[in-house]
């Protein structure tokens, strides 16, 4: 934590962790478009009731998210101080992509989305399970079936769908730089495998958010 390189490595490691988390989140969500969400229900019930997931993985994830956000903001503040007098004429677009220069903007947009996302899903989940003490996941008396219903219920409101879709665009922009940048930060780069990392990063940054947009639109359109 003491030096700039240590900070960027930690930023990258927390980024890697969130990339892996996002992939598993996507895979589970994607099962909701098949059938009547039976697989989605059983996976959600497992994730929601497994002590390992709830009391080990979830706190690690929350720490990872908060760490990534807090460190990102700290670095941004420090970097702004490193140029105390700004250029009168500057053309940053000539030498670096918009995504790489605006990670703080896309990051803050993702943070705002997380607020809504927690309000939509996480807070009601915690209330039902740990305040009301209902671990059954039951809907109409059938255990472990409420999750699909709750997911669908959220995607009835067109404005919520629009906000979700826009947030996924910001997520994509963030990942377009973040994925390959994380590899660079941990020193995993040379001319042999750089093109592969870049292609993989672009593929991930486009496909995963596009997949989330598809899921949101799917549930909205099938309920019209």
């Amino acid at each position: 934590m003491k030096t700039s390189i240590a900070r960027k490595v930690l930023m990258a490691l927390s980024g890697f962790f969130l990339i892996v988390f996002l992939l598993q989140h996507f895979i589970i969500n994607f099962t909701s478009v098949f059938g009547h969400g039976e697989t989605f229900n059983s996976l959600s019930h497992f994730m929601g009731t497994s002590p390992m997931v709830q009391f080990v993985a979830q706190p690690i994830l929350i720490f990872g998210v908060i760490f990534h956000l807090a460190m990102g903001m700290y670095l941004e503040a420090q970097n702004n101080k490193a140029r105390n007098v700004k250029y009168v004429m500057n053309k940053p677009g000539e030498n670096a992509s918009w995504m790489s220069r605006n990670m703080i903007i896309t990051g803050v947009m993702i943070l705002l989305f997380l607020g809504l996302h927690f309000y939509d899903f996480w807070i009601p989940e915690i209330k039902t399970k740990f305040i009301d003490g209902d671990m059954s996941g039951a809907l109409n008396g059938v255990e472990g079936t409420r999750y699909f219903h709750e997911l669908q219920h959220k995607f009835v409101d067109v404005w919520r769908v629009i906000i979700y879709c826009l947030s996924f665009v910001f997520l994509s922009l963030h990942l377009l730089h973040g994925f390959q940048s994380a590899f660079q930060s941990v020193g995993f780069r040379n001319h042999k495998y750089l093109p592969t990392i870049k292609k993989l990063g672009n593929l991930y940054a486009v496909l995963i958010p596009a997949g989330f947009i598809f899921i949101a639109l799917f549930h909205y359109l099938t309920q019209l």
């Binding site: 030096t3 700039s4 670095l75 970097n79 140029r83 007098v85 004429m89 020193g187």
Partner: protein, 252 residues
């Protein structure tokens, strides 16, 4: 060979000294040959200013052959101007259009304080070098044959590529975070790739990174602007190598 001339409007940062507040001032120049270098164009301006009894514009320069790393300048929003792989002294006026307005500013970074006008103090780079950018070699007694220690050709080439960094500071000037990582990584790489540099590898990277942070440069966010604007084309591979060297050294 054609010899087009152009008339330009220059907007130049003028600052009396380190403590004074600076501002942009406008100067028209006429009859500038397209074959002039950017610094020769500034020479013309300064001669004009001297004739008018005004204070000439201070700017850094030395060899004017693109090798000493002394010239700097942020021209029209880019370090060393709009051309690629050239220093300001090798930037020619043919890159500009007749009637154009050109913004000329000093390299901006907390680590590069302005001394006067367009001159900045880049001694932070010297202090980073002093912290570890060297190999300790016993120079007394018999001279050791340079070829006594075999070095793979690829390693030698990469070390040489890193060593072509002239320390001009364009990387810092271009980086949105005013980070000095490209410079420091080049100076770490030129030794870490060679057997002679391995002996002090751990201390070198730790000390140089520590000094870099002390000088107030920002953190690298891998935008890649430094690589694009570097007049010597120093690669981002060097930053990745420095990150590896640093991780290795911290774990030892």
């Amino acid at each position: 060979m054609s010899d087009k001339t152009m008339n330009l409007t220059l907007k130049i940062w003028r600052q009396k000294d380190a403590k004074s507040k600076g501002k942009m001032e406008t100067y028209p120049v006429t009859g500038i040959s397209e074959h002039m270098s950017f610094l020769e164009m500034l020479d013309v301006l300064n001669e004009q200013l001297v004739v008018e009894g005004k204070e000439p514009v201070e700017f850094d320069h030395d060899c004017r052959e693109g090798i000493c790393g002394m010239c700097s300048l942020h021209i029209n929003g880019e370090a060393h101007g709009p051309d690629r792989r050239v220093t300001t002294c090798q930037l020619h006026m043919r890159m500009f259009k007749d009637g154009e307005t050109i913004y000329i500013e000093p390299f901006r970074a907390k680590g590069f304080p302005v001394v006067k006008d367009l001159v900045v103090d880049r001694s932070a780079f010297d202090r980073i070098q002093h912290a570890g950018g060297f190999v300790s070699v016993n120079t007394s007694g018999n001279t050791i044959d340079a070829n006594a220690i075999p070095v793979p050709k690829d390693d030698a080439d990469e070390a040489f590529n890193a060593a072509t960094c002239i320390g001009c500071g364009a990387c810092v000037a271009s980086c949105k975070n005013a980070s000095a990582m490209l410079f420091v990584s080049a100076k770490v790489s030129q030794f870490s790739l060679l057997p002679q540099g391995k002996v002090e590898a751990k201390d070198r990277v730790m000390k140089m990174v520590k000094q870099m942070d002390l000088e107030g440069f920002g953190n690298c966010t891998n935008t890649g602007a430094c690589e694009v604007e570097c007049p010597k084309g120093i690669s981002l591979d060097n930053i990745a190598r420095m990150n590896r060297e640093y991780l290795k050294a911290s774990l030892k």
